[in-house]
C-alpha cells in the first residue's frame, strides 16, 4: 500500500468514525451540539477529500475545543486515538519532505501496535488479571457490562481466567504480527474481532471504528519495513 493511499484510506475511515460519534451528540441541546455539528460538516469534507490539509487542521483545533468542553476526553481511549490520528494526519499534510511524512505515519502505526502491547503488559504484571479475578470484577461490578444478565458471566471463573489469558497473550504478541503480511492481516482481523466483542458486551462501540481507522498505517508500515526495506 502506497503512503498516499494509506493516508487517504485513514482519512476516510477517520471521517466515518467522527461522523458516527458526532451524530450521537446531536440530541443534546446547547454548545455540545454546536461543536459536534461543526465536526460533522468538517468530517464530510474530509470524507470526500476536500481541502484535506486545512480540514485536518480545523478538525484538530476543534478537537482541542471539544477536549476543553469536557475537561478531557468524552470517551476515554477512543477520543485519544481519534485525536492522535488527526494530529498525525494534520502534521503529515504540512510536512514538506516525504521522509518526515513517513516518520509521522510510522509513529501512528507504532502507537497502534503499542496500544495492544502496553494494554497486555499492564494486565499480565497484575496477579488479579493472571488469576482471572480482574475480568470477573469487570463483569461483576464494573460500569461496563451492557446488561444485568451479562453480570452472571462472573459466575464462570474458569472461563473468564481462560479469556483473560487469551486477551493478554494476544495483546502482548500483537507486535510480532508485523513480521509478515499474512500474520499482520490475521492479527488485525483478530484485533477487530476483539473490539467487536468489547463493543457488544461492554458498549465500547467507538473504540471499534476509531481503531479500524488506524489500521492502514500499520499495514503501510509493515510493507515499508519488511518489503521495501
Amino acid at each position: 500500500m502506497s503512503l498516499d493511499l494509506a493516508i487517504r484510506v485513514t482519512e476516510i475511515a477517520l471521517a466515518m468514525a467522527f461522523l458516527q460519534q458526532s451524530i450521537e451528540h446531536m440530541q443534546v441541546p446547547g454548545d455540545e451540539r454546536h461543536l459536534f455539528l461543526l465536526r460533522i460538516i468538517l468530517s464530510i469534507f474530509l470524507l470526500f477529500g476536500f481541502q484535506a490539509q486545512w480540514v485536518c487542521l480545523a478538525l484538530g483545533i476543534l478537537g482541542v475545543f471539544i477536549l476543553k468542553r469536557f475537561q478531557g476526553p468524552y470517551n476515554g481511549g477512543s477520543d485519544r486515538m481519534g485525536m492522535l490520528i488527526l494530529c498525525c494526519l494534520a502534521l503529515i499534510h504540512f510536512m514538506p519532505a516525504l521522509r518526515w511524512q513517513e516518520y509521522i505515519f510510522g509513529y501512528l502505526a507504532m502507537q497502534c501496535a503499542l496500544s495492544y502491547f502496553i494494554a497486555g503488559w499492564v494486565k499480565i504484571v497484575n496477579p488479579e488479571w493472571r488469576n482471572g479475578h480482574a475480568l470477573q470484577d469487570v463483569f461483576r461490578f464494573s460500569a461496563y457490562p451492557v446488561s444485568e444478565s451479562l453480570r452472571t458471566w462472573a459466575d464462570w471463573p474458569r472461563l473468564l481466567c481462560l479469556m483473560s489469558w487469551v486477551v493478554m497473550l494476544f495483546e502482548l504478541l500483537f507486535p510480532l504480527a508485523l513480521f509478515s503480511h499474512i500474520t499482520l492481516i490475521t492479527g488485525l482481523v483478530i484485533a477487530a474481532g476483539f473490539h467487536f466483542a468489547n463493543a457488544c458486551l461492554l458498549g465500547l462501540n467507538r473504540f471499534l471504528w476509531i481503531w479500524l481507522a488506524a489500521y492502514p498505517s500499520i499495514l503501510w508500515l509493515q510493507e515499508r519495513i519488511f518489503v521495501h526495506g
Binding site: 450521537e24 469536557f70 492522535l84 494494554a119 488479579e128 464494573s142 460500569a143 457488544c200 467507538r206
Partner: protein, 147 residues
C-alpha cells in the same frame, strides 16, 4: 495555555493502560424532592442498564449508542469528582440528570428539587461492598443550588 498542553499531551503520547486495575465503580443515584427540606427516601439509579439486551440491540449500538456513551462519560465525571472535587463534574451530572428527568415527563411542579449521590461498588474478598462517597446539595430543576 498550560491547561491546553495538559489536555493534549496524553493524546500525543498516550498511555494505553486499559483496564490495568479494576477500580471501585461509581453509580450515580438521584432523588426527586417536593421541598428543599425533604430527606430523600427513594434513591434511583441514573442510567440503569437493562436486565437483558438482545443481540440485535447490541449490533444496533455499534452505530448508535448515545445513552451508553453518555453514561460512561458520567462515570468518568464521578471518578474525577472524587479525585479532585471538580465543580465541572457536578454541573455535568446535574445537567444530565435534569435532562433525563425532563425526558421522562416528571411533573416538576410536584417534585421541583433533586439531589444526587455517588455510590462506589468494589469487591472486598468475595463480597461486594457499596460506599456512599458523595452527596450533593439540593438543586432546583430550573435554577442552581438551593441548600
Amino acid at each position: 495555555m498550560l491547561e491546553t498542553v495538559k489536555l493534549l499531551l496524553p493524546v500525543i503520547i498516550p498511555s494505553w493502560r486499559f483496564f490495568d486495575t479494576i477500580a471501585p465503580s461509581p453509580r450515580i443515584e438521584f432523588a426527586l424532592l417536593k421541598t428543599v427540606q425533604d430527606i430523600p427516601d427513594r434513591w434511583q439509579e441514573f442510567c440503569p442498564r437493562p436486565a437483558h439486551l438482545p443481540i440485535s440491540s447490541m449490533l444496533k449500538r455499534l452505530f448508535w449508542n448515545p445513552h451508553w456513551n453518555e453514561a460512561l462519560f458520567l462515570v468518568s465525571c464521578a471518578e474525577r469528582l472524587m479525585e479532585n472535587g471538580a465543580d465541572y463534574s457536578v454541573k455535568e451530572i446535574v445537567k444530565r440528570i435534569k435532562t433525563g428527568v425532563e425526558k421522562r415527563g416528571v411533573n416538576s411542579m410536584v417534585t421541583p428539587y433533586l439531589q444526587f449521590r455517588l455510590v462506589f461498588v468494589s469487591r472486598e474478598g468475595e463480597q461486594l461492598q457499596k460506599y456512599i462517597t458523595f452527596t450533593s446539595p439540593v438543586y432546583q430543576y430550573a435554577g442552581g443550588i438551593v441548600s
